[in-house]
Symmetry: D4
Subunit: 220 residues, 8 copies
């Protein structure tokens, strides 16, 4: 049943007016939805909009729904499904930095999303503070960036370090990487929140998409 | 003793190169410093830079140090000290919204800082979700804003609401307002981190200055 | 062995007097009980009462015990087993609202229970605050409701929003939906507890049945 | 400046339409407001509505503002200020039970509020589970009650006990009474949330007003 | 290698003098030990002592080691292994009460241990506070008991109730039973610690053995 | 108003039957009570019972109420008020051990209470594990004791040590002594709960009285 | 691509200059890396350095990568992979003590690492405080040690005990051993942090490698 | 009363053998002790040993006890009292680094203690990561140091940074500096525990003395 601004499938109210209202189509969060629900959502959306993002779509679920639409592209490491035309890169550089190898899936979620939205993306992975000289090697990248996303677990000191070296706005993503007193990302979350250098903000633990979405908003 | 980029007063290393490196002069955090230390810092900074921001400067401490420099301006509700020329507003609108009256001091810290940096600032105080129709009345302000700062304690639902209504990037500041299970801002912090609508980021509890600093970075 | 008011099966004391004392038969919580124990309980109860509710009965357990009594009805999404006559709806409307699709199983637990007890139930699923305009579309439902149950995870702002729009008593059910700093429902629990608008109360995380039970109590 | 539904005093947006929308005038939360702000609020409200509730108004603040309006009544133990006509008791009995003497101020906040709204209120103080026989003595009161509010700190077992003895809907208010592992009400909050007997709901720690407001909603 | 008071098997130091020093042989905690390690421990102990208790021995592990000694008895629900002569009951009654069916395995761990040590044990299972009248039926058992162990999860109010009704020393065992805000036993632990009635003490979450050991110590 | 088993003063229900029911008169917890309330309680109790214990009675409050009854004795370090005849020591030795000097007030609360009830009490203060040889010097005391109370803050290792050296039942009292990660007694509480040696139980943080009460129960 | 001091494989920046800068080659943390990534890392490192440590390498992963280099040695209990020449023991004794059997894998991680670096290592396992006399038997080992590592879970009292008996610097490793209120190592962590005896420091929960690394640094 | 190895003043057992046993005289922790108790301790100690350290001695308490012994020296910022001969510096350099000005009192506690024990101490205050170039200026100090103590609050990233730059063993001291989500040092504690670079250990929050004590142990 279609209402003004949304379509009612009972188990979900598809927000087909979001693009107009917020400048971006709705993003469907896959984990709680069944295969059948995702298929219905894809079919219904295709009647109303040209593009659709499905987040946290694991490979198995993707396999189950991929026949729903031939237009569905899938980015495995980023766990993103996408229907639509990805834009040509016309916006400034967004630099995505990770502290370690384990943070890369979260980084890819941000990176792929940003590229689909037409941003130039540079990746700089595994430059954590255990060897901060590695970071210094890439000073040019730091300078060129219009926005920087810093993705780190454990004590997440990398956000503070980058913050001290750059003029660009910084978005921190704490990750659930680590063990023991890392407490599933709590340690990184508190570390980033208390970063002693201004100019940075944070999003939820492991929320690469949220960081990418915000970076896209402020990168013009 | 002066070194390349900073001056060493033993108890503090003044970062006189920060303006050049980060595009903004150092911000001195007043609470842990004695009157004498603040006076020495002000005097030394004045030799090297034109402007200086002192944060969380309570009224009593201000009284004790105000004779150090005739150029020291004081904003009581925002607890900010400032030396320098405030810039003419040339940047886009930053809208600062609070959920309640109790959030105003944190809001003023952000607002005054942004005005000193040359931003147009609009204030919209006490429009918490208990009466969300009050917010709707100000839709023009929401549209005009280039950046929005949302300041709220308790369950901090206001961030999610504004997020659903606006295209501008949103910065949430959880506050320590509330009682009982508000747990000194923890409830608001978790609420904002889990905001189900993308497009928002957060800073530390009660950190109005951090939000203002970041808003200034992205408002052009 | 039967005592005044209860039957003693050693591993369980069946409270056959609860209906008389509290106006409602005992509800058997399935998870810690073995198949054999559940079968014994069903058989014994049937000697004393006409109706019985079994909660959190997963499908596999249901399969194992369904032969015990031909009268056993099963509601899979709600994970409820029921023996007895469900009442005709004669009570006022109870409106059950969820923020997202993931909250539906908890909602169904409340909804099915309320329908068995003779309440009119209206469902309004997936109207979370990311698109609060969807909620406004259903203002008639909000007005018609005599009691409203709001079921939400993450920051659970939906309770505050509905609270500001309605005169009916509200019952909030925080859910364990979300990731990262949602901390298995803690974030939603604190958010609902700190709801800044009066007129709402809450039950335990994911406790759809408790909300349904209470709603039935106050809906006349 | 007056808008549709509210008056804008800058530091506060007075919700003068709340009575019409929610069936109850706005409740002003006193703690974060200065004397001057409270005075302005009282004056402005008096132009638009007949009645006003001010909560958590401590005695000192009351002394400072009492001259603003001769109509201001004050209930010291309940820390409530009130302007308006209290209603004659026409609604059913609300029974307010406390576990100990220390819980009485929270109980009085609920009780006075309910009496102002026209409810019969019965008080039953200090019947905690250390001597549960005291509770049994008052079985008549338990039966007569249409709604029961249970106020308890420490382990808050009283809610479960009363729940097992009564048919009326129960509202639990955990209090910050206790020491050591009571953790400022956290212990009572968790105890009440996990009450193993259905039919009860809870509000925030020490939130007597919230319990009273909800009880008034459901007592007809 | 044998030393004064213990035998050194490198991976474990068997405390063969504990019986003499503490009045009870060592209790071997099975979970972290491999099958091979448990077998070596049993063989070595048998050279030095007549009796041995193995705790938290799950059924699978028991199957793997049962051939080590024909004298090994196994109590499945209690997850206890035992070698030695169980004593005739000569000590006073220990009453073991559980709130629900889910608490029975923890109760059995205490009960079997106590019986092995020569205590009369009475079991009273599933008399939680949701139907406190069930408890009253067994007042004789309460009076006869020399020591009472109360085992409960969720809000654990049962300890406070029994405490108000009895002269015997009470030992509370919080269990990890429950869901949502039960937080794996934390809620029950805090509830029991804050029991407002004196005369009770507690042991660790799910620690039935610890409660049994202590009850044996004080029951003469 | 006097009822069967208790007297109703409205703000408090005096449990005058507790002695008969539980073998000990009620203990009045002073902190939440006003001077006037304490005076009324003392006067009323004196009509019904011979003895009364008032706990956590600070010196200032004692000064305010001491004229109520000439029979009121006061123990300042233990913060205990007492009316009645203290019993001659006829019971076995209770040994009270503290880890440090800071734990002594909690220890005295237990010690004085036990002496009033007719127990021999031995004090052994400041023998914390930093110099465990001090403890060994007092092995005779350890052997003589029928019950041992161990009072310690910080990591509370003393309970485990004493547990390994003694046959007597042990009662641990974690204290809020310490700084930093001691978290107001949480560290000591967890340490004592996880004591790896069986034979010990615990009470709430700083609850000397609870430990004394329990020790009295089991010392015959 | 090789840069000054590191090699860039995109997903990882190999810190080939760490040996020169920090006196020790990089340690590769295996868990987040795929088989392919580990193989690439091993191959690249071998071009630049003689030795390499791979930590938390479980047996299955080791099987998958062992063909990459014939020089790869594997220590299963310690979960360590190693390429290079282990040094002859020339440094002083490091004594590694565990409270229980369950702590041995963490201890072996430290022990093997220290032996590879040329330290004499003595192991003293299962001497927890439940039988502290076992520890006293090994006083010679305590005296001979130049550094002591204490590894314990639950309440972790062993660190305090050893601290009181020794002059050597102590490194505590809290482990996640235990159940209930052990909270996955939190209890042991807090216990060790609050150890009341100076001369000890700690590392993260289960971090045997970190303790070994530090012990190697200070053992000369 | 004097025993072997200690003197018993009832409220305290003076450990006069600690110097012999542990290589260092006892350190008296002042906060829980009364003026009278401190005076007695000082007098008694002076009969047995030449030197004594009193920690956390605030200025007011010092004033009250300073007449007890003319030999008592006081270090106000470090809150240390000392009797005895401070040793000539003969040991290697210990470098003490703070992130900010607020960390200086904790640093001074470590520094003064180390100087009294005969260590060369270098101070490097206020070089937090917001301006990490300040740290690089002092590379010589980093190289010269035999041991480094890093003292930082908030996110405590400084420990990781220094760890990546130095070969010396590092001791981290998290401080309770900060606000909001710093949670009184918890954030810094978790940050330091999760430092991703090996070679560092930590002590309790604000425990400058513990860090100094340990540094003295390993600096030869």
């Amino acid at each position: 049943m279609e209402h003004k601004g949304f379509v009612d499938l009972d188990f979900v109210k598809l927000d087909i007016a979001r693009n107009e209202r917020r400048g971006f189509p709705e993003i469907v969060y896959a984990p709680p939805k069944t295969h059948l629900q995702l298929k219905k959502i894809i079919k219904e959306f295709r009647k109303h909009t040209d593009s659709l993002v499905i987040s946290r779509l694991d490979y198995k679920k993707y396999q189950a729904i991929k026949n729903t639409s031939g237009a569905l592209k899938y980015f495995r490491q980023a766990r993103l499904g996408f229907i639509g035309k990805s834009l040509k890169p016309v916006r400034g550089h967004v630099l995505i930095i990770t502290a370690g190898t384990a943070d890369i899936p979260v980084a890819q979620e941000a990176a792929v999303f940003l590229e689909l939205c037409g941003n130039y993306v540079e990746r700089l992975y595994d430059v954590g503070v255990a060897g901060v000289h590695r970071l210094e090697h890439f000073k040019d990248k730091l300078k060129r960036a219009r926005v920087i996303i810093v993705i780190a677990g454990m004590e997440a000191a990398l956000l503070s370090i980058v913050s001290g070296l750059s003029r660009a706005p910084l978005i921190g993503v704490p990750t659930s990487v680590g063990y023991g007193a890392a407490f599933k990302g709590l340690s990184a979350l508190l570390g980033m929140l208390n970063s002693c250098s201004p100019g940075s903000v944070i999003v939820n633990i492991d929320n690469g998409l949220g960081a990418g979405y915000f970076a896209n908003l402020i990168n013009k």
